[in-house]
Symmetry: C2
Subunit: 386 residues, 2 copies
């Protein structure tokens, strides 16, 4: 088979674009989006291998959701076993692509069955399916992508062509390597956060994961409301997801005697604690990428107040970088809703009241409004990272 130069160059360019991204969820969602575009598929979902199961990560469906991805699926705790019973599980088990021309007329003699619950619930009609295992070098399984309903020029569902069945795995196998690498990258950043935690036992790994996800979602809605282009949203969401995980990493520079003091801090001690913002920024003082810049800004300014009475500088309003304003809200929200050794967790009602009261004082009022627009997603994040 000869491939058109344009098609091939477009695949290679897409791989190049994925390579620019670092955050695993953004890479997963982009992989699905680009594969759907290559195959002209109406819908699709993507699953990540984790602890021997397939974790449900992203769903896209032009007919049902349009261009906007339904954000809530990303924080779903739903998993599929790697087994013969489902189409996706079977593709994972055999590491072979499964192509189905009509989901409601699967030939006899195959072990898997089509699960119609999504169709029933959403009044959707799945016709053709292409379940592609995501295989990285060394033949290891990273996840499974499922494309639904290839469309002809009139938009009618058709089966996936031989051409598509050749092209999609060329793309997804490269994407698998990028996904695998992004998982390692995320773990590295989590470990950096964990290093601070080793020094400060009050911090926990799930706290940084929640703050990171809160920040990503607050930014996403902020940017959508402002009609920021989609590629720019994807790019900056990638950056803030990672950078916000490190907001407190500068705590490694604070003396134990202060950080681990059981009782309340005196003024001098509190001055030392405030230094964690400056220490953190020092770690990212040599800036060679926007990720470095944003990490630096978040570390330095996540304790600034909208009204200017925060620390370490006392910036106010828009002077505080957006990423730091977002992290401030996410960090406080998580602290309020978490149980710490010195306090119980608050009720949602109390938390919401506190955040509303602090709008324009501690927090950017626009972000507080957005916070209340997306409480369902924020709640899904809390459920996922308990």
């Amino acid at each position: 088979m000869h491939l058109k130069k344009e098609t091939v160059v477009s695949i290679i360019n897409t791989i190049g674009e994925l390579n620019q991204l670092q955050d695993v969820d953004i890479i997963l969602s982009s992989t699905l989006c680009e594969a759907r575009s290559l195959a002209n598929a109406d819908a699709g979902s993507i699953f990540l291998l984790r602890n021997g199961e397939l974790e449900f990560r992203h769903v896209q469906n032009d007919t049902l959701f349009g261009a906007k991805e339904s954000g809530i699926f990303q924080y779903s705790a739903e998993t599929l076993p790697i087994s013969e019973s489902s189409i996706v599980g079977y593709a994972a088990l055999t590491k072979e692509m499964v192509a189905i021309d009509d989901a409601y007329a699967i030939p006899d003699g195959v072990p898997y069955q089509f699960n119609a619950s999504f169709d029933d619930k959403n009044r959707y009609r799945t016709v053709s399916i292409l379940a592609v295992p995501l295989i990285s070098r060394g033949n290891s399984l990273v996840g499974v992508m499922q494309l639904i309903n290839a469309k002809n020029r009139q938009g009618t569902p058709i089966f996936f062509s031989e051409q598509i069945k050749t092209l999609v795995p060329i793309f997804t196998n490269n994407a698998a390597a990028i996904i695998e690498r992004s998982i390692l990258n995320r773990e590295l950043i989590l470990r950096m956060a964990k290093m601070a935690e080793l020094h400060d036992p009050e911090e926990t790994g799930v706290h940084v994961q929640r703050v990171s996800a809160f920040c990503a979602e607050l930014y996403q809605r902020w940017a959508e409301n402002r009609k920021i282009p989609r590629w720019e949203i994807r790019r900056f969401r990638d950056i803030i997801s990672q950078a916000s995980m490190l907001h407190d990493a500068g705590k490694v520079g604070i003396p134990d005697a202060v950080l681990k003091k059981p009782g309340p801090l005196d003024d001098d001690e509190f001055l030392l604690v405030k230094q964690h913002t400056v220490y953190g920024a020092k770690l990212f003082s040599s800036i060679s990428s926007e990720l470095d810049q944003v990490t630096h800004d978040i570390m330095l300014y996540h304790h600034e107040y909208w009204n200017g009475i925060g620390y370490p500088v006392g910036l106010n309003g828009d002077q505080i970088p957006l990423a730091a304003r977002i992290t401030a809200l996410a960090d406080v929200f998580d602290a309020l809703s978490s149980k710490r050794c010195y306090k119980a967790s608050w009720s949602n009602e109390m938390i919401y009241k506190e955040i509303r009261n602090d709008s324009g004082i501690h927090f950017d009022p626009e972000l507080v409004d957005i916070f209340f627009e997306i409480t369902d997603i924020l709640h899904a994040i809390q459920m996922k990272f308990k």
Copy 2:
């Protein structure tokens, strides 16, 4: 132009292989190697943009060095300005590919000149040159690659064909994204090391960079001596380069009172210091890649002794993972040759004597022999990271 499916799939596969790698120098050297293979070029070099200059990183030349890359160039401090005077500098300045059919018959009217010093020194004859800027997304320059002497089937130098001039940039633009990402990754690991340093002012960024490079070179020679396949050498060298940077990161878990004590430590305090191996291993206790495994092993075992009297476990000989045996030697060598606040640096003679004496006691005897085989490269590393 229609491209052959095999050629295209091979380029995509090569990009996939590069994507498996993390360490910037290994990616640079692999990029050069694969581009030469694509263009059937006898030789080539690759430069990385750093602080506004082009840093000379890798040279490959089948005629002069054979398949073995001359390791010493990697630690060269040589740079080229981004300017019209050199071919490589011109490609960087204009961000355009420069193709030259005969280096000794460059047409009039171009600003750059061919620098014949390498040819003269090595009795080599450069004929054709393809200088390709490495451009990442956003049109930012990452470096320049120079291919030398395309060969026909008889091995005679010819000019670079139009086909090659189309294919090489498709490959290198993707490689550029991977190189850029690997630089960010390296900086992230360096920052993890710097976090430990924030807690322990005795440690310095250049120490971890030297130890990392020593480990890479000791492993390379060890593996070459044992006739390990080349791809496996490349793979493990990539892993040990990164993992060894974090050997002391567990020090963040040690109380300040001990770590920063000016005088000698008592027994209890020394017990606490020894815990940095265990704390470090704890950071990498959830293992999801070989990089995690090796980092864990290095952190936990880099103070073990070949004769079994080390800590924390008291393993001996081959029980100690190879990466930890290598890091032990690299770490001690660097400590001996560095000036610290409590001691002057030793002379080479004294250091060599100490290392020889400790062969079979502290260090793996095979690694000590290798150490003395590559002192020229180790010295070049010391010069580069002063």
